[in-house]
């Protein structure tokens, strides 16, 4: 008798109890509507990409905290948020998305910001079905720039195509004009993953257009062995190397470059090779390394000074290591916070001063108008580029600045360099229209949107 009960209990513990506890915990929490706007955070604080995740979500949370403390939210609507760990793993990100999309204690969700290409792809259609904006700042699916086909996806500031186009334009100014690119040798060292390969067709197109010699070299994931690639580079003797790296691949590339005698100041890192965590581990080999950035690092911006005063000094900061305040990933989180909050503010001006639905926030994103005056008001002049989004353009900016590593920190060395967005637009539209056809989506008529 006893043993039967024991066995039964064991089994129940294995299956039954688990699921009942799960449901109990899922439906816990009161459903009282509050005057709050909710941000579901699919963050990653453990795993191989934790450096990026803690910095980005730290900055994002600190900015939301700052708006809450300083201004009491937007027009009296406070922000609330909760985190769900994804470890950068797609299924976990999807689970988090489904868990958090409904909002928290009656506060509706404004937008999701997974900061992961894989999770963004997997929640792309879900976002459209749930009418919840999906923000992929500085990354994501390039053709989602076309908002008529992807109404709920926003690759804010910079999509991958604009990124390479801006790098080529920068090389051109360094060489004395676009016509001087002819005959130059450029090597692109890319991470052997979907992310790494995304821009290869555009580089080939630009190479044909401007007549430079392009060599594409793949580094297999994770990229901790690059001897043969760099020996190849030494043989080719290129004028510039574009580093399209990821995680550990970046410092290894810089170290191997030093070993093979290639100068670091002719290596240009892309948007995921531009953080302190990418350059610092390479030590002296990184000195002179150039990379692009959509936002300078550092703390000399009024908004960051203010966050320091209002949030960090008050002991409410999210960062574990306060030294990371003002680093590239942290500032990206702050920029992301500024853009999300601005979208809510714009949408509230139209729909009323109350918590908004995802659909209304989407309208806010499409009507973001950040000019120099507005940026100065926000204290983010020089930190965020002027941005103007619309129904058909979900990217808005497409400009980057270049920075150089001096051995301990990044120094900005250029003004905003603009991507050739006119050239890229037809390619983006071709791809988005093909997607629309595959999926049976009728693109919105953007001339009718207000």
């Amino acid at each position: 008798m006893l043993r039967v009960v024991q066995q039964g209990l064991k089994l129940a513990a294995a299956i039954g109890l688990g699921s009942s506890l799960l449901s109990a915990s899922l439906f816990a929490g009161s459903a009282q509507a509050a005057n709050e706007q909710y941000f579901p955070l699919q963050s990653y604080r453990v795993g191989p990409y934790a450096a990026g995740g803690t910095g980005f979500f730290g900055g994002f949370i600190d900015y939301l905290q700052y708006v809450n403390t300083k201004e009491g939210g937007v027009n009296g609507v406070k922000f609330t948020w909760s985190e769900c760990e994804t470890e950068y793993v797609v299924e976990k990100g999807v689970e988090c998305y489904e868990r958090l999309k409904k909002g928290l204690n009656g506060a509706p969700a404004a937008a999701t910001n997974p900061l992961s290409v894989g999770i963004a792809y997997a929640t792309l259609e879900r976002s459209a079905a749930d009418k919840l904006p999906l923000i992929t700042i500085n990354h994501g699916r390039t053709d989602s720039t076309d908002g008529s086909v992807f109404p709920y996806v926003f690759p804010l500031q910079l999509n991958p195509y604009s990124e390479v186009s801006a790098i080529i334009n920068y090389i051109a100014t360094k060489s004395g004009g676009l016509d001087k690119l002819k005959g130059k040798k450029i090597v692109t060292l890319y991470h052997g993953s979907p992310y790494g390969k995304e821009t290869n067709p555009i580089l080939e197109l630009l190479a044909k257009k401007y007549g430079f010699e392009l060599t594409l070299l793949e580094v297999p994931h994770p990229g901790n062995e690059q001897q043969s690639q760099w020996l190849n580079i030494r043989r080719i003797k290129p004028d510039w190397v574009i580093l399209r790296g990821w995680g550990v691949m970046n410092p290894v590339a810089l170290k191997t470059a030093q070993k093979t005698g290639f100068p670091a100041d002719h290596i240009i890192g892309n948007i995921w090779s531009n953080s302190e965590e990418d350059a610092a581990p390479a030590g002296s080999a990184a000195k002179g390394f150039i990379s692009i950035t959509t936002h300078p690092s550092g703390t000399n911006f009024p908004v960051l000074q203010d966050i320091d005063k209002v949030v960090l000094k008050a002991g409410k900061g999210n960062l574990q290591d306060p030294k990371r305040f003002g680093t590239v990933y942290y500032n990206l989180g702050v920029v992301n916070g500024i853009l999300n909050v601005e979208a809510v503010r714009v949408a509230q001006a139209k729909f009323g001063k109350r918590p908004l639905t995802g659909e209304e926030v989407r309208w806010g994103f499409e009507n973001i108008r950040l000019d120099e005056k507005r940026l100065k008001e926000l204290g983010a002049y020089g930190l965020v580029q002027p941005l103007k989004l619309s129904c058909s353009d979900h990217e808005g900016g497409g400009a980057v600045r270049f920075q150089q590593w001096d051995g301990s920190k990044w120094n900005v060395i250029s003004d905003w360099v603009q991507a050739d967005r006119k050239l890229l637009r037809p390619i983006i539209e071709e791809s988005s229209h093909q997607y629309a056809k595959e999926k049976g989506i009728t693109p919105r008529d953007c001339s009718k949107e207000s």
Partner: protein
């Protein structure tokens, strides 16, 4: 007493061949089916469908595929995720390139393609055994991922190599809603689980078990080793391929080679180790353990401990608890959760008496 078989006589061959011989088991099975098909769609919400039930079912099917190979035929494999990837990409390409192909048929063709690749990588099993075979299936894992990433044709020359699944239209009905995805997955998984249960009771299944227990002895009594082993690889890969197609089409909605990496192969292996080798039910129990428990822990810690502990620490704490539970269950029952169920059944048969 609770589970009594006395009085249930088998008097003809048809009754002898039934899947479940006891009326208690039959009734339980039908009740479960009715519950899953007719009750769950009305009581579950979106979160349960898309984040819990569908991945649970798909991973159960993947576990089932590996269990046929490892649990029944005794061939170790670490290439499960690779066969899933082949299934997913093949199903995508069949659907894309053959106009008007019924959706379910593209799943089956995806499974067939995976079976083909499975046979290819099963060839070394004729010469090598055990851990050495494990290493050669590891080659499948890396090779398939490499091919799918570097040959653009498989992803329809998509620049980033990530593909989104087409709309789920079957006989003009749209299964794209969360409940629809669940029902579609459930139907496929139930059909294949019944098929698997029949296979392991057939002549082929008995050959597999003979080979598993000692392949030299099996060869001596006249079992064709070549055919038996290769069929094990083919059928197992077919199941895994269909699971991969479901993973891509009904669960995530995207296909990406990176999603089928070595970690996934390990996950499937853990499902069958924890669930129980050589058992159909074990796959479902194992998948429930592997899929549901981390979600449960994460939900509990999200509601109970949020704000008290740093989120990063909390995540690591969950991993420690989960790992501890795996160790605990394997110590308590080295043969897996399915054995717990079996013990329970045997004990309840004689309850309230005992030997």
């Amino acid at each position: 007493m609770l589970y009594r078989e006395s009085g249930q006589f088998i008097s003809d061959y048809r009754a002898d061949r039934r899947l479940f011989r006891l009326w208690q088991e039959r009734a339980g099975f039908y009740l479960l089916l009715v519950f899953a098909f007719a009750v769950v769609p009305f009581i579950a919400n979106d979160y349960w469908f898309s984040a819990i039930l569908v991945p649970f079912l798909v991973l159960s099917l993947a576990g089932l595929g590996l269990n046929l190979l490892t649990g029944y035929a005794g061939q170790l494999s670490l290439g499960s995720a690779a066969f899933m990837a082949v299934g997913a990409f093949a199903a995508y390409n069949f659907h894309l390139r053959i106009e008007g192909l019924p959706f379910l048929l593209s799943f089956i063709l995806g499974g067939v393609a995976a079976a083909g690749v499975g046979i290819l990588f099963g060839l070394p099993s004729l010469r090598i055994k055990g851990f050495y075979l494990l290493v050669s299936t590891l080659a499948a894992q890396f090779f398939v991922q490499w091919v799918l990433t570097s040959v653009g044709w498989f992803s329809n020359n998509n620049a980033s190599g990530v593909i989104t699944a087409p709309p789920l239209l079957i006989w003009g009905r749209d299964f794209s809603s969360p409940a629809g995805r669940y029902l579609l997955t459930l139907a496929v998984v139930v059909a294949l689980a019944l098929l698997a249960r029949n296979i392991v009771r057939s002549e082929l299944g008995r050959h597999w078990m003979a080979v598993r227990d000692m392949d030299t002895a099996a060869a001596v009594i006249g079992i064709p080793i070549l055919k038996t082993k290769l069929l094990a690889f083919a059928i197992s890969s077919f199941f895994l391929g269909v699971a991969g197609a479901l993973w891509a089409f009904t669960y995530l909605g995207t296909v990406e080679p990176h999603g089928f990496d070595l970690t996934r192969s390990f996950q499937i292996l853990f499902i069958i180790i924890i669930g129980g080798m050589g058992s159909i039910l074990g796959n479902f129990l194992g998948a429930a353990f592997i899929v549901l428990l981390p979600i449960l822990l994460s939900n509990l810690s999200g509601t109970v401990l949020a704000g008290l502990i740093d989120p990063g620490q909390l995540e690591n704490l969950q991993k420690i608890i989960f790992g501890g539970l795996i160790v605990f269950f394997l110590i308590k029952e080295p043969f897996g959760l399915a054995r717990l169920w079996q013990n329970f059944r045997e004990r309840s048969r004689i309850w309230p008496l005992r030997y």
